[in-house]
């Protein structure tokens, strides 16, 4: 059932591209703002690049997460999903993994302009960075799906979502920036492994919380 739900999420998004386009457009706009509002000194940009990257990811994700339940809301397909014999936790997992994939896709598309516009040097190795980004995405989207599910039926949902999301993901944001800094600036792993542990703990806690509480968030 999880695979069916995940396939449906990906297929629906492929068809209308609401989540991906909103995240991509906003991400590139934010990147432009970063480029012009900083001094333009590549040395300074190199120092703060991890922080800029995760700020961009968090800001873009809030827009995408707001539309994560968009297709279900418009024609009340959500009612059909809820009344079907599907475990609500599995529904959360499908939203979580699909949201993670959409965010990862955006990061792949934005990373080249990110390096170009800020005049950054290429990293020495890619895989640790990719791992950190994937772990960070899982954490952001886990909380994002919970918060998006609550904001879906609320008034001022576009404002409510970031107001709820950003403070909750603060420890994850700090850990992501620290771990990315350690990787990008070639600091020994033993120095920043603590931050990877924080990220992993965050993902486990909020992934479990989402699985357990989604039942209570989805009903009217």
């Amino acid at each position: 059932m999880f695979i069916t739900l995940l396939k449906k999420e990906l297929f629906v998004e492929l068809r209308n591209k609401e989540v991906i386009l909103s995240m991509l457009a906003f991400g590139l706009t934010v990147l432009l703002i970063f480029s012009f509002s900083l001094s333009g000194n590549p040395k300074i940009n190199h120092e703060i690049a991890p922080g800029l990257f995760w700020s961009l990811v968090v800001l873009s994700s809030s827009l995408g997460l707001h539309r994560l339940f968009g297709q279900e809301k418009d024609f009340d397909a959500f009612a059909s999903l809820l009344s079907a014999p599907i475990d609500r936790g599995t529904l959360f997992l499908a939203k979580w993994i699909s949201g993670f994939l959409f965010l990862f896709l955006i990061e792949i598309l934005v990373v080249l302009p990110f390096f170009l516009f800020l005049g950054l040097s290429q990293p020495m190795s890619y895989f640790p960075g990719i791992g950190i980004v994937m772990l960070g995405n899982l954490g952001i989207v886990a909380v994002g799906v919970i918060v998006s599910g609550m904001a879906m039926r609320a008034k001022m949902s576009a404002v409510l979502l970031p107001v709820l999301l950003f403070p909750l993901i603060t420890p994850l944001l700090i850990a992501c920036v620290k771990a990315t800094t350690g990787w990008y600036h070639l600091i020994p792993f033993s120095t920043w492994q603590f931050w990877v542990l924080i990220m992993a703990t965050y993902v486990v806690i909020f992934g479990l919380a989402g699985y357990v509480f989604f039942e209570h968030i989805t009903e009217e």
Binding site: R153, A154, M156, V163, L168, T170, P171, F206
Partner: protein, 224 residues
């Protein structure tokens, strides 16, 4: 007002709170010694830390109320959660005000991202979202569930927030630590008395607020 004092326990608790607070204030100003170099600014310590403790206690009660709301399926626990969230946020606001007041003469700067104060700030922001969710989340019966979930998530987040902030930028977060086990009895005794007094005050405020909330609920559901 008289409605709040109909209950004997609340009447006694109110009188005990007033007496304790009067004694507490006397102890802070006239019994606790003046700490060299910090003078009157250090006295905030006797208020700032107990209020901070009470606010964390309050947010813990929000979490417990949320769990009990789901287990017992009783809206009473939603009202307890809301009351605890309100008082907790009030106390957190006071912590964020008294902290910089204490910090300015002691650290030379009102704000230096001290881990506990920063954790308090983040919790304050989470609860801004909590009250927005309460206001805009929809009908109260649904919002009760959302608030319970958010209250649980917020408290689960606290240790993660604290440890991530603690190790975030220690070179910029240095400040004089108050090592409790090195303090003399003349400071410790008034301090623990103040902790006790503020805890009693918190319980009183929570009981009052829940009582008002229960009555409002009865009025709204016409069960008076």
């Amino acid at each position: 007002m008289s409605f709040l004092f109909q209950e004997r326990f609340l009447r006694i608790l109110f009188i005990v709170s007033v007496i304790l607070m009067a004694v507490n204030l006397y102890a802070i100003f006239f019994i606790a010694p003046m700490v060299p170099e910090q003078h009157w600014a250090q006295k905030i310590f006797y208020v700032h830390v107990p209020i901070a403790w009470s606010s964390f206690l309050s947010y813990f009660i929000v979490m417990v109320s949320g769990i009990l709301f789901f287990i017992k399926k009783d809206s009473y626990w939603d009202r307890v959660g809301l009351a605890a969230a309100e008082i907790g946020t009030l106390f957190v606001t006071l912590v964020l005000i008294t902290g910089p007041i204490w910090a300015t003469p002691i650290w030379g700067k009102p704000w230096i991202w001290e881990p506990r104060l920063t954790t308090t700030l983040i919790l304050f922001l989470i609860y801004i979202g909590y009250f927005m969710l309460r206001k805009f989340g929809g009908h109260p019966e649904r919002v009760a569930r959302y608030a319970a979930v958010l209250g649980i998530l917020a408290f689960l987040d606290v240790p993660l927030i604290f440890y991530s902030v603690k190790f975030w930028a220690p070179q910029y977060q240095l400040h004089p630590q108050v090592e409790m086990n090195q303090q003399p009895d003349e400071i410790l005794l008034p301090f623990f008395f103040s902790m006790f007094t503020f805890t009693i005050l918190y319980i009183l405020m929570l009981r009052f607020r829940v009582k008002i909330s229960n009555f409002q609920y009865k009025l709204k559901t016409k069960n008076v």
